[in-house]
Every structure is written in structure tokens, then in C-alpha cells.
């Protein structure tokens, strides 16, 4: 059983790794269609990506939308998480479940709802519409990360500060926030990534004006499979590598055991 599991495991490693690395040589390909191995190599598609507004505008839209989504999500989620983690009140367990509900609803269902509802409100094909929708989808993810952090918070630290004469405001600013900062950063990062990657709702409501990068990629893959997608895929893959490597290096510098984080799952 042991050796069988080992060999099966190695095969699976190849299965998982192959699709991740194949986009890199593809992005330098000189072929104008999907051809692997590429007949020759050049940088043409990189130039095409960085000079074509058809790709740059959606990229910029995605950055704006994900940033605004992150800010809005954190403004809403931080106080709510304090309420749910630090207080006992009637209806708390129902509120807990409600926080997670957007994770349980398939994105296509929400896409139908937003398409119709935002259509009535005049919010389709606008940045604001996508931001408002993405915030709903980011809330449970940010909440899960932050509440896990807040549950592990040693409140004696706050009590100690207050018994030494710090006012509640000072305690919050000088004790609570700094200790919670890693949790806040990670939860904001997850909110950002979920918005930046979200495809289904964006396909239905972002239209041409507020088209996000995933929407543009989806349309392009569906219609012509523009090789520029390989460039974007490579750049996104590099971004993920940097994002994952950064905490490793940071913790290696501080010589602590690294621990890769994983985001809660969303329904694609």
C-alpha cells in the first residue's frame, strides 16, 4: 500500500504541476494559435498586452474594483466580527450562519439576481455595481479569517493595558490593532483576491465599460483564444508565486516555521 500510494502521489504531483507551468513557455510562443511546444519564441505577446488598451483597461478596472471592494468589505466586516466574536446575544448563531451564506449560494444564482436587480437600479455596466456585488461575496471570506484571528486574541493584554491606566481608545489603538494587524492584512488580501478573480458575476453585470480582467479573459478564451491570455496567465501565476513566497521569506528572515495560508473556498 505504501509504495503504491507513493507512486500515485508522484503522478498526482505531475498532474497538478503541468497545467501551472505550461503557460510560461506558451506566453513566449511565436505561434498565433494554441500550439505546444511552440514553434519559436519571442516577446511579441508581452508587447501586445502592455500596449493594447483592450487588455489594459480591464486590468485597470479589476484593480480599481478589487481595491474598492476590499475597503468596503473591511469597513463592514471589522465591527461586525468584533460583535460576533466578543459578544453573546440572542440570534448570534443565526447571524453567524448569515455571514457565511454568500459562500453557500452558487455565483451563477447571484449573477442572475444582480443582472435583474442592478438592471432596475441602473447599476449594471458600472464599476459601482460590480464593487457592491463583489463586497457581498468577499464578506464571508474576510469574516472567516478575521474571526479566527480574533478568537485567538488574548484579552488579558487589553485588560493589562487598561489596568495600567490606558483609556479604551488608547488600548484599542496601541494594543488591539497592532496585535490584530496580521489578521487584518490577510483578511483584506483574501477579499482583494476574491474580487480580482471573480468571474461569473462580472461576466453578467460588468458590461463593456466596467469589464474586469477575468471577464475579458473569459470572452477572449471563448471567441478567439488570443495568445495574450498566456501572457496574462503567466503574469498572474508569477503574482501568486510572489504572494506565496513573500511570507516564507519574511518568516525565514525572522527564522520562524513558515506556514502557507489558504483561503476559504468560494463557489465558482
Amino acid at each position: 500500500m505504501n509504495t503504491f500510494m507513493r507512486w500515485a502521489g508522484i503522478l498526482v504531483v505531475i498532474f497538478i504541476a503541468a497545467p501551472l507551468v505550461i503557460v510560461v513557455p506558451m506566453s513566449f510562443s511565436s505561434a498565433n494559435s494554441l500550439q505546444f511546444p511552440p514553434p519559436g519564441y519571442w516577446f511579441g505577446y508581452y508587447r501586445a498586452y502592455f500596449t493594447n488598451p483592450d487588455w489594459l483597461i480591464p486590468t485597470w478596472n479589476s484593480v480599481i474594483i478589487a481595491t474598492a471592494t476590499t475597503i468596503l468589505t473591511m469597513v463592514l466586516v471589522v465591527p461586525a466580527t468584533f460583535a460576533l466574536v466578543r459578544h453573546k446575544f440572542r440570534g448570534k448563531s443565526a447571524a453567524d450562519v448569515m455571514m457565511l451564506m454568500p459562500l453557500a449560494v452558487p455565483h451563477i444564482v447571484m449573477a442572475v439576481g444582480y443582472y435583474s436587480y442592478f438592471g432596475d437600479l441602473g447599476l449594471v455596466h458600472s464599476h459601482l455595481g460590480v464593487i457592491l456585488a463583489h463586497t457581498c461575496l468577499s464578506v464571508p471570506i474576510a469574516f472567516l479569517v478575521l474571526s479566527a484571528n480574533l478568537k485567538g486574541f488574548d484579552r488579558n493584554l487589553e485588560r493589562a493595558a487598561q489596568s495600567l491606566g490606558a483609556s479604551p481608545t488608547r488600548t484599542f489603538i496601541h494594543i488591539t490593532l497592532p496585535i490584530l494587524r496580521p489578521g487584518l492584512i490577510i483578511s483584506a488580501l483574501f477579499a482583494f483576491v476574491q474580487s480580482f478573480d471573480e468571474t461569473v458575476v462580472a461576466i453578467f453585470i460588468s458590461g463593456r465599460d466596467a469589464a474586469t480582467l477575468p471577464r475579458k479573459m473569459f470572452d477572449s478564451i471563448r471567441q478567439e483564444a488570443d495568445p495574450v491570455i498566456a501572457v496574462i496567465s503567466t503574469l498572474l501565476f508569477l503574482l501568486v508565486m510572489v504572494g506565496i513566497a513573500a511570507p516564507y521569506f519574511a518568516s525565514a528572515l525572522r527564522s520562524r516555521a513558515p506556514k502557507p495560508s489558504r483561503p476559504p473556498a468560494g463557489a465558482h
Binding site: 508522484i10 457565511l100 442572475v112 443582472y115 435583474s116 479604551p168 478573480d197 463557489a267
Partner: protein
């Protein structure tokens, strides 16, 4: 919020509600209302009746798509298990360095946009791709059509969802006390019987978690089946999108969406009763 800390720490009743209110109102306006809109459209568009549900639940096309979606989700879940279990095992039972490298790979796959991964499979399975080239090299005359089939979309979905399964099983496996395995061995269990009666039951919670997650996500999967699958073998999400996008059939699309939502929530509710929903994504 800083000023409220002292009162925050007391167990008064008004504070949690004040802190929750902005999010609560927001979710009501931008989550509950659009969802309710779907429910309302399903019984009012084009006119007030249950005709949409009747069509969706009894029409041959819709039934076939529902069954197809269910079977695909079940098959993808099984494949993820077959793929994920050995890898989680490898991670849990190899040297820390190797385990770290594999974990890094799985994490990387997890974080990579699923559009990117879908696109990769298009390259791998395309007519000018390495797999077809390999088959040609082997001298196979009748080259199969790999792309835009049930095969390609299933394969890509397994690849995309496998990390959920792997992470869940691995987190259970690494917590197994080796003393349990040793004592089972000292009592004479070995090989298959050791696995079947000791190891497998110990990893069951991870399997349950991973399977529910993969199955539920797969039920509502839109992007990958639409891009890689056969147009003749749609899944529910693809058909819903089609109704809205092409035919502007909001009533029909909404009714299908409600059925999808209903099934998803039933599965998650059963799970919630047994294990607690927060564990699923934790």
C-alpha cells in the same frame, strides 16, 4: 469604534447590534434582495404561475441537464478523492522538506485563477497540444477530439477542485497520532486491513469535508464547463447563463437557479447539522 471598547467588553445588548447594523443592512440590500428577486422572477416572469418550475422539473432537456450535472459533480468528487488521497498521504508521510514542496505546489494551484487553469487545459488538450502530439507519436491513426468534450471539462474541474480535497484530507492526516497506527500494527493489523480498519476511518472527517465542498462547488460550476465542455452536454449553471444571456428568459433561468440553490442548501444544511458549517471553509 475605539471609544466603545469599554462598553464593547461589557455584555450590554445594544452594542453588538450597533456594530452589526451596517453590515446587516448592506447584506439585506445587496444580498438578500437580489436573491429574493430571483425567487420572485421564477414565479412571476413572464406571468404569475408555477409554469417555469413545471417546465424545469418535467421538461426532458432540463431533466437531462440536472441529471448530467449531478453525475458530473459526483464523478468529479470521486476523481478528486482518488487524486487527492494519495497526494495527501505522500505529504503527510514524507520528509518535512518534500511535504513542504508539495504543499507549496498545491497552494500555488489553489491560488492560481481558475480561468488560468482552464486556459492551460485548453493548451494541453488542444489539437496542436502535447497530448495529441504524443498520441500521434505513438502511431495512433484516429486521433480523438479531446477539447470541448465531457472529458476535457471533467479533467479540468478535477484539477481545479482537487486542492480543496487535498487540503482537507491532509489537515486530518497530519493530526493522526502515529501511536494509533503502531498499536494497531502491534495487534496484528497490516497492509490492507490496517488501512481499511484504522487509517481510513481516522481520515474520514477530511474525506467528508473535502467531498461536500468539491461536490457543492461543482454543482454550480459555470466557467470551466462553458469554456471546455461540449455544448451539447451543458451543466445547470451553463444552461442558466444561456437562458439569461441568449433568450432573456429570466423566469426560466430563475426557476433553474432556485432549484440549484435549493439542492445546494439542502446538502449544506445536512452538513451543518452534523459538523457545523464554519468547519467546512475554516
Amino acid at each position: 469604534m475605539g471609544m466603545s471598547l469599554s462598553r464593547l467588553t461589557e455584555k450590554t445588548n445594544i452594542w453588538p447590534w450597533l456594530l452589526l447594523a451596517p453590515l446587516g443592512i448592506y447584506m439585506l440590500v445587496f444580498f438578500v434582495v437580489p436573491l429574493a428577486d430571483v425567487a420572485i422572477m421564477s414565479v412571476t416572469d413572464p406571468r404569475v404561475s408555477l409554469a417555469n418550475y413545471q417546465k424545469v422539473l418535467t421538461g426532458a432537456l432540463y431533466q437531462r441537464v440536472f441529471i448530467n450535472t449531478f453525475l458530473t459533480a459526483a464523478f468529479v468528487t470521486l476523481c478528486c478523492l482518488a487524486v487527492g488521497y494519495p497526494l495527501a498521504y505522500l505529504m503527510a508521510h514524507s520528509k518535512p522538506r518534500t511535504a513542504m514542496l508539495i504543499l507549496l505546489l498545491v497552494t500555488m494551484s489553489f491560488w492560481t485563477s481558475f480561468l488560468v487553469r482552464t486556459y492551460s487545459w485548453m493548451v494541453l488538450l488542444g489539437n496542436n497540444g502535447p497530448l495529441i502530439a504524443f498520441l500521434q507519436m505513438m502511431g495512433i491513426e484516429q486521433l480523438p477530439q479531446l477539447l470541448f468534450t465531457r472529458f476535457s471539462s471533467t479533467l479540468a474541474m478535477v484539477h481545479i477542485l482537487a486542492p480543496y480535497m487535498i487540503m482537507n484530507i491532509f489537515s486530518v492526516m497530519k493530526k493522526i497520532d502515529p501511536a494509533l497506527i503502531r498499536s494497531a500494527e502491534s495487534l496484528g493489523a497490516k497492509g490492507w486491513s490496517l488501512f481499511r480498519h484504522v487509517y481510513l476511518p481516522l481520515t474520514a472527517p477530511g474525506i467528508a469535508n473535502g467531498s461536500v465542498l468539491v461536490f457543492v462547488i461543482c454543482l454550480g460550476f459555470y466557467v470551466t464547463p462553458v469554456l471546455l465542455g461540449s455544448p451539447r452536454e451543458q451543466m445547470i449553471a451553463g444552461l442558466i447563463g444561456h437562458q439569461i444571456d441568449e433568450f432573456l428568459a429570466f423566469g426560466l433561468g430563475s426557476a433553474m437557479a432556485m432549484v440549484l440553490l435549493f439542492v445546494t442548501l439542502i446538502i449544506l444544511t445536512i452538513y451543518h447539522r452534523r459538523f457545523g458549517l464554519d468547519k467546512l471553509w475554516g
